[in-house]
């Protein structure tokens, strides 16, 4: 397992060096949430039923916004060439990328969520349900982002293309996630089970798809 953890360690070191990036992402998350009440008005009768969907939309957008450069830097540096020759293998590499990306972007966002929930008057009894659903959902979204980033690697207009590829795929996570967060049946509810099932499917296919896409994903350098 040394190669696998070495890749995670490397990515976390790089993320730590560029730590102002996750500050930007957190602010992005907060601003999206703030924009909703500004657009809808301050009437709490209208706002209150919509608060959980706000948080989900904001989380979805800010998690997926961070994926554009996931593999681009490694491709440009030539690190991907080194990885494909190494013991690590591209599948494990993609999984390591997903884990380190989740730790460095989705985790701070989850930590920020209770604060946002307080701001939006979500009853504190609902916090744990929301957080557990967001935890599973953010992991699923991260895997989707890995798929999208690997497929769109090297394409023109990578960011817009990625959004077009990923958003339809994210529909099940959004649906089950918002339902699970608002469930009256406690933390472990049927919607959460379905969300977990989607996550497991993604966990199985994301590394394979990413590895297959990156296998010949070469940039034309010299000849």
């Amino acid at each position: 397992m040394t190669p696998f953890f070495a890749q995670i360690e490397r990515d976390l070191m790089i993320a730590w060096q560029n730590r102002q990036d996750f500050g930007v992402m957190l602010i992005f998350f907060v601003i999206i949430i703030v924009l909703f009440p500004l657009a809808i008005g301050s009437n709490t009768a209208i706002l209150d039923p919509l608060t959980v969907p706000f948080i989900w939309i904001a989380a979805l957008l800010s998690i997926l916004a961070g994926f554009e450069r996931l593999f681009a830097q490694d491709v440009r540096d030539g690190w991907l060439d080194q990885v494909s020759l190494s013991q690590l293998g591209l599948g494990w590499y993609a999984l390591a990328k997903a884990i380190s990306h989740w730790l460095s972007t989705a985790l701070p966002l989850l930590i920020m969520t209770p604060l946002m929930a307080v701001m939006l008057n979500i009853p504190s009894s609902q916090f744990s349900t929301l957080l557990v659903a967001l935890l599973v959902g953010s992991m699923g979204l991260t895997l989707l982002g890995v798929i999208g980033a690997a497929l769109a690697e090297g394409a023109r207009r990578g960011a817009a293309l990625m959004a077009l590829l990923i958003l339809p795929l994210a529909v099940p996570i959004l649906i089950f996630g918002t339902l699970a967060s608002q469930s009256e049946m406690g933390i472990i509810n049927p919607h959460l089970m379905l969300l977990c099932a989607v996550f497991v499917v993604l966990l199985a296919i994301a590394p394979l798809v990413a590895a297959s896409a990156l296998e010949t994903g070469e940039i034309e350098s010299g000849l």
């Binding site: 769109a152 394409a155 293309l161 077009l164 958003l167 529909v171 089950f176 499917v201 297959s212």
Partner: protein, 246 residues
């Protein structure tokens, strides 16, 4: 048989032989089907003449789904066996499927306005078709999103495969989310819930639409193959020119 058809020239020869019969079947079925559907079959006692949209709407919806299955199979063939013909087929199918998905949405909206009083309602089937339409657009954007056209083939094939796994999940999740639509009327246990005077033209239109789909895909594949060969010829001006197969 797959090995035999994997050769592009042989594939096109076989496809070309099918072309004429397909055109004949398609035009006869479309003519009879449209006549029966628009003039002979009775108007619905609730929906009136609006119900005749069904003869376009249902075949379009079937083809949008059928096309996506086709894309997924092409993706599988391309990834596993690296058949270039699978890539050509996928690129030929994608725009046709996109148009049929769009047609489904438009006819659905036209049908929905008198029925539900709104052009668009967020019911499960319309929403899944909309998401399928987005999948098609994503496939088109990805397969043409690279500076070298061939670079897009592999990611697009992978996307089609991921979509194959994901489409049923999306469908299920959207059903879970909401369902207001009338239940499926053609294929269900206990026989079709539709009068035979309407079933006949519908079946004819379905045959016409499927054969039409096959014709367009064959013509597009022919054009794409010719385009590739022309490009290859331009890159090798000194090599012996080979016949562009049509």
């Amino acid at each position: 048989m797959f090995d035999y058809l994997a050769n592009p020239s042989r594939f096109m020869r076989t496809a070309n032989r099918l072309l004429l019969p397909l055109v004949v079947v398609s035009s006869i079925c479309a003519a009879i089907g449209l006549y029966l559907g628009l003039f002979v079959s009775p108007a619905d006692y609730q929906q009136g003449d609006t119900v005749r949209i069904i003869y376009i709407h249902v075949p379009a919806a079937w083809l949008a789904l059928f096309g996506y299955v086709g894309l997924g199979l092409c993706g599988l063939f391309y990834i596993v066996w690296r058949h270039p013909i699978a890539d050509i087929a996928a690129r030929a199918i994608a725009p046709v499927g996109t148009v049929f998905a769009f047609l489904t949405l438009v006819t659905g909206a036209l049908w929905g306005k008198p029925m539900w009083g709104a052009w668009w309602v967020w019911d499960a089937r319309l929403t899944s078709m909309l998401i399928l339409f987005f999948f098609y657009l994503g496939f088109l954007a990805l397969s043409n999103g690279f500076d070298q056209a061939e670079r897009g083939s592999r990611p697009a094939a992978l996307l089609a495969l991921v979509g194959m796994i994901n489409v049923p999940i999306v469908k299920f999740s959207v059903d879970w989310w909401n369902t207001l639509h009338q239940p499926a009327s053609l294929i269900r246990r206990g026989g079709p819930a539709i009068d035979s005077s309407m079933l006949m033209p519908l079946v004819l239109m379905l045959i016409a639409a499927h054969t039409y789909f096959a014709i367009i895909v064959i013509l597009r594949m022919r054009a794409l193959l010719a385009e590739r060969r022309a490009a290859a010829l331009m890159l090798r001006p000194n090599s012996k020119p080979f016949r562009v197969l049509t």
